[in-house]
Symmetry: C2
Amino acid sequence: MSLAAESTGVARTPAIPVLAVVGVGLIGGSFAAALRQAGHVGRVLGVGRNAQSLERARALGLIDAAATPAEAAAQADLVMLATPVGGLGAVLAQMREHLRPDTVLTDGGSTKAEVIDAARAALGDRIGQFVPGHPIAGAERTGPDAADAALYRQRNVILTPLPENGAAALARVRAAWQACGAQVLDMDAADHDRVLASVSHMPHLLSAVYMAQVVQAADADTRLALAGSGFRDFTRIAAGSPEMWRDIFLSNRAAMLAELADVRAVLDAAESALRARDGAALQDMLAVAADARRDWRKESH
Amino acid sequence: MSLAAESTGVARTPAIPVLAVVGVGLIGGSFAAALRQAGHVGRVLGVGRNAQSLERARALGLIDAAATPAEAAAQADLVMLATPVGGLGAVLAQMREHLRPDTVLTDGGSTKAEVIDAARAALGDRIGQFVPGHPIAGAERTGPDAADAALYRQRNVILTPLPENGAAALARVRAAWQACGAQVLDMDAADHDRVLASVSHMPHLLSAVYMAQVVQAADADTRLALAGSGFRDFTRIAAGSPEMWRDIFLSNRAAMLAELADVRAVLDAAESALRARDGAALQDMLAVAADARRDWRKESH
């Protein structure tokens, strides 16, 4: 961080003279804001299909100007693709022939295996310029107004480097995230997708399934009137964007189905214990869960 | 509340000259503290098997003296049974022959059908003196030190009156809860158990099952290190007392199994949609959940 702070000096060339952000909402806008605040970037270009969002991002100072994918590819030293996972391949395909050899691309998508497949298909022999990434940061708010230079501070950012990535490309992406205040970890893409299926996507699926069941009950009004603080916490994530989560689930389908089979095995055992009035088995499961939750990040929660 | 406040005047007889609380922890201790603060009770007796808890409750001013079940039955105008659901029948059996004809009993148990069965078996023809109840209030902390005169303010308390309950007995219990600042609702016991299975017990089961699955995975450490705020909220209730929740699940077994079948139906449909890559069906379910959660208590959340 001290190096980043030094680089705000007028006489220095910023680490990234031109940054392009595709998607100027929470993820992309916060990335731009954090790098600008750290003096890590010079000019910032914004790419997107929504002219109103781009104009709002400019008014907020997140970007300096709007650009097409081709312009961004030709001018940027680093391109952050902060688009929905499903739209990434199309943008990369538009950029490919305009990319400079030393332009580095990265993304902020919640799943990695599918993104990498799409990037390989779109970039072909330029795939080494794409460093897949995923910042683990909240996504409850959306749009340029949700952008926050502090969003990534002390958050984990996972990179899932490709065999084709050069050291310089990796270093550029890593340094950018560190300038945002994040901790950067490297993982295998399949490991990432399995872990995120477990700790992020599965809670969302279970919370939404449960909430849908409650509201479709004949006595839903009574239920919702008597729901308390446990219900409130358990269902908070179910309010998230249906479109975004649909895309995440589909994009991480294989890992989700595998995790779901494991969750079902524990659920089946609990149901069997309840059916058999097996209090000891129920208590064992509950104690494993309670101990694990109480031990989790004991230092901070 | 103004009547309750008036009754603190020295010259007045409090609405409940002698209150007995069986179990002087969060639920019973808070009941005593709230009624004392409202000037609704005179002397408070504490009943329990743990001498240390009783002494602590006395030191905290929650109770005036410890008493046996027989003494409480003979002396109290209102007895609050704030014991674990499984132990209620035994206490009532000890009280039965000592009960005055006008003593009113109530409880704070999380389930009602089983409690009522146990009370009928223990009290026989005195069952009309027992008014079943359930305050919907947090239970994360335990013991006399967790007692809080404000715990029940603006919280819902559900009574599930029996055909044998007289109007005077019902009115005494209702007035006591109102003096605690609670809103009192009447429900059928079976309706209560189904609704609570849904909005309280099911979230706990799902959260615990999920948490147990995560911590038993081979890469549990990585998972827990990368879990974020959604995971935190979704699993918060899984830290609750394994013994208490085991008892609640067993006590509400039939309603839980019925609810679980309904939750499984929605989960099965979601899994089928994911397996079939049916984005529209997934989004429909997610939208039902998101709309319901966003609409829930819009005024206060």
